[in-house]
C-alpha cells in the first residue's frame, strides 16, 4: 500500500495542464494522456493511438476530441473511440478532480497484463 487512498492516485493540479492541451503521466503499463479541453473539463486516455501508436497527448485538441499527430485520426476523449470512418479505440481512464487536484483511478498502477 502506498500513501495515497486505495482507489485514486493524485497526479498533480488542474493548472498543470494547459487549456486545450495535454500532459502525460508515466505508468508501468505505458503513458497516459491527461487532457484539459476548452471548457476546462479534464479527461484521460491511454497515450497510444489505436492506428499505429501515435502519442495522442501531442495532438490538437478540439471539442472533446483530439486529432492524432501522426496520421490525423480523430479520437473521442470520452470513449476513446475513433471518429468518422476509422475504426479503433484507445482505453479511457477514470479521472476525478478534487479541490483542484487531479486524481486517476489507481488501477493504472497495475502493470500491463
Amino acid at each position: 500500500m502506498n500513501a495515497m487512498t486505495a482507489d485514486w492516485i493524485e497526479i498533480g493540479r488542474v493548472e498543470d495542464v494547459p487549456l486545450r492541451g495535454a500532459r502525460t503521466v508515466k505508468t508501468p503499463a505505458g503513458d497516459i494522456a491527461v487532457f484539459r479541453i476548452a471548457t476546462g473539463e479534464m479527461l484521460a486516455i491511454e497515450d497510444r493511438c489505436p492506428h499505429r501508436g501515435g502519442p495522442l497527448s501531442q495532438g490538437i485538441v478540439h471539442g472533446d476530441a483530439v486529432t492524432c499527430p501522426l496520421h490525423n485520426w480523430v479520437l473521442s476523449l470520452r470513449t476513446g473511440e475513433a471518429q468518422g470512418a476509422d475504426r479503433g479505440c484507445a482505453k479511457t481512464i477514470p479521472l476525478r478532480i478534487e479541490d483542484g487536484r487531479v486524481l486517476l483511478a489507481a488501477r493504472v498502477l497495475a502493470a500491463a497484463e
Binding site: 500500500m1 502506498n2 492516485i9 497526479i11 498533480g12 498543470d16 495542464v17 494547459p18 487549456l19 486545450r20 492541451g21 500532459r23 502525460t24 503521466v25 508515466k26 505508468t27 508501468p28 503513458d31 491527461v34 479541453i37 476548452a38 471548457t39 476546462g40 473539463e41 499505429r52 501508436g53 501515435g54 502519442p55 501531442q58 495532438g59 490538437i60 485538441v61 478540439h62 471539442g63 472533446d64 486529432t67 499527430p69 501522426l70 490525423n72 480523430v74 473521442s76 470520452r78 470513449t79 479541490d99 487531479v102 493504472v108 498502477l109 497495475a110 502493470a111
Partner: protein, 816 residues
Amino acid sequence: MTEKLVVIGNGMAAGRALEHLFEEAPGRYEVTLFGAEPRVNYNRIMLSPVLAGEKAYPDILIHDEAWYRRHGVRLRAGRKIVAIDRAAKTVTASDGTETPYDRLLLATGSDPIIIPLPGHRLPGVATFRDLDDVETMLKAAESGGRAVVIGGGLLGLEAAAGLKGRGMAVTVVHLAPTLMERQLDPAAGYLLQKELEGRGIRVVTRANTKSIDGVDRAESVTLDDGTEIPADLVVMAVGIRPSTALAKAAGLAVNRGVLVDDSMRTSDPEILAVGECVEHRGQCYGLVAPLYEMAKVAAARLAGDEAAAYAGSVTSTKLKVTGIDLFSAGDFAECEGREEIVLRDASRSVYKRLVIEADRIVGAVLYGDTADGGWFFDLMREKTAIADLRETLIFGRAYAGGAPLDPMAAVAALPDSAEICGCNGVCKGTIVSAITAKGLTGLDEVRAHTKASNSCGSCTGLVERLLSATLGGAYTPKAVKPVCGCTELGHGELRRLIAAKELKTIPAVMQELEWATSCGCAKCRPALNYYLLAAWPGEYADDAQSRFVNERVHANIQKDGTYSVVPRMWGGVTSARELRAIADVVEKFAIPTVKCTGGQRIDMLGVRKEDLPAVWADLNAAGLVSGHAYGKALRTVKTCVGSDWCRFGTQDSTGLGIRLEKFMWGAWTPAKVKLAVSGCPRNCAEATCKDIGVVCVESGYEIHVGGAAGLDIKGTEVLGRVASEDEALETIVAIVQLYREQGWYLERIYKWMARVGLETIRAQALDDRAGRRALFDRFAFSQRFSQSDPWEPRARGAEAHEFRPMADLRALEAVR
C-alpha cells in the same frame, strides 16, 4: 418555555431563513442575531448599483429596525462571534459577552480572497464585499484618478463598470485569456471584452499580477511581464472563500465549506448552517438563488418539519452592468453525446449557445439578447424534452412551435426598408429594385450598382440570398470551398475579412464571421492562427494550442513518438566547432541516428521528448539554432560552392544563400518555403525545383519561382533577372511577403502561383519598385517579432510542461 435560537451572521441567507421561520412558527424561538457588520440586513447584490450610483443605501435595505422589533429579534449589530462552546452551548462575542443557545444557525457567508502580493496591505487596496468596501471605493473615486481591478469575473467587472461610471480611468487585469471564463465560453467572453473596451475600460487578459507598489499608499500595479499600470485605487476581486474559521475552531466538520446534509444540519445536529459558508454534496455556492432554497429548508427544519430537504441547485448568472445583456446557466462542457446549437449574429453582437444532451438542455450561454434566458433556464431545470422544439429552439420562445426558420424565407420576409449592408447603408428595396430594373445577375454586379457588400463583405451571404430570392433558379452563386465544416467562408474571404474588420483574436474571428461551432476544429484553428499572426505582427498572441505538435514543440515528431532535431546550417556551410557540438550531443544523449538531409544539413533522429531542452541547450552553446525543419516556415536555403571555389561559378552563390537564410529565418508562411541558389546554369543546388530559386549568370541573378519536387514535380518559372545581390534579396523577400499575405494555409508557392498567376507576382514583387520595397519593409517589420530562436527560451526552462510528464507513477508500483 420558548427555545433559544442564536443566529451568527446577518446576511442574505440568515435574513431569508428568519423570514420563513417567523411565517411558519411565529413565537417558537427567542432569537438573538449577531452580525459583524454594524448595520441591518441589506441586499448585498445591490452593492453594484450603489457603486454605480444607480441606487443608494436606503434603497437596498431588506429589514429595517422595525422588522427586528416586530419579530422580537435581539439584533447585535457590529458584534462578531469569536467562539462557539458546543459542550456548554454558548457563543462568545467580540465584546466578551456570552449568549446561551438551544439551536444555532450559522450563516457567516464568505470572505473575499486576498492574494498575498507584495503591497496588498497598502492603503488604497480594496475588496468588494460589503458596504464599507463600497464606501472606500466611492471615496477614492471622488478625486477621479485611476483604478486597477484585479480579476475579470462577475464582481470585478461590476466594480470596474461602477468605478468607470464614477469617472475613474479603469483597467481590468485578468489571468485567463477571456473574461468570466467560468460562466462564459471564449466567444461570449470576447463580446463582453469588446463591449467594455467600447465603454473606455481597458482590459488586459493573460495578466498575472506580480506586485502592488507604492510608498504610503498604492500607486501602481506591476504584472509578471514587467508592465506597470498606475493606480490610485486597486480593487482585488479574485474570488471568495467560505468563511469557516469559526466553525472549524468549534470542531465542526469542514471541508471547503461547513459540511451540511440535506436537512442543512452540520456535524453537530443542534447546529444548522446556510448560505455561502456551507458545502452541500461537494458544492459551494456564490449566488443567492441556492441560498434562498437552503434558507427555506433550514427554516422548515427549525419549525419542526422533519421532511424538508435540500437537493442542491442549478444556478444561472447575469452580469449587472447596465446595457450589457449576458446570461449563462448550467454546464456547457462538451461531452460525448452532447451537441451544441450555436447562433451568431455578428451585426447585432449576438451570440447564443445551447448544449443539448439526451434531448434536454443542459447548458446555455446568451450574449446580447438574453430575453429567452429564463425560458431556457426553465426548460433546463424541468428537464423538458425538446425534440419538438429543436428546429427553432435557439430562436427563442417566440418561434417555439412555429415553422422552422428557413434562411431563404427569412430574407424574403424582410421589409423593403431592412438594412442589408451596414457599411454602405443599403437596404433591401434598393438591392431588389436594382436587380430587377437593371437586370443584374451576379454578386459583382450588385456590388458595382448598389455598393452593397462592397466594403467589409460580411453581408455577402444576405445579398446572395436576395439574388436567389429575386431571380429564383436563374441565380447560381459562385461555389467557394469552405475552410472547414465550421464556416461557409473560403480561405480568401476569410483572409480579406480578418484585415477589413480588423479581427485580432481567434474568438473575434469566430464571432464576427459567425462560426458554426464554439471553438473550431483541427483544420480551421491552425489556419486562423497563421492568418492572424501574418496580419497583425507584434500584436497577435500566438496560440500554441492551435498549432500542430511539431510547431508547438519545435521538433519533428517521428513514428515512435520520439523527435528529430535539425539545427540550421546556414546555406549548407558548417564548421569543425558545429560538427563537434553535434557529435558531442549525439553521444551524450545516445541519439540513435545521424543523417544528412536532402536539404543540406544534419538531422539527429530518435531524440526523447524529455531530452529536447537539454539537447537544445548544448546546441545553442555552440551557436546552433533551430532549423525549423518542422514548420510552415522558411526551411533550408541550399547552395552550391559558386565563385568561391568552382571553376564555372559566376557569382557568390554560397554567400547569397547564407544572406537569404540569415535574413529570412524565423518567418512563418502558409506552407513551407525552400530556397536554393546555384552558381551557374549547371544548377548543382537544384534551384529550379524549389519554391524560389536563384540561378547566377554572368550578368546577374535569375530569379525562379514556383518549383516543387515532392508530391508534385514542377520546374520553376522565371520571374526575371536582377543585376545585384541586394536586388535579388529584396525581390525574393518581396515574393515571400506577397505569398505570406495572399497564400492560403497549406498552399505551397507553386499552387498559390497557379491561382494568382505569375504575371501578378511579377508586377507586384519585381516591376513595381515602390511596391516591392513596401513588401520588403513589411517582411522586415514582422521579422522583429518572429526572428528569435524558439529553442533558446525552452532550453532555459520555458514551457517546461511540454517536455516533462505531469507525473511518473512507474516507481510507485514497486512499493505496492
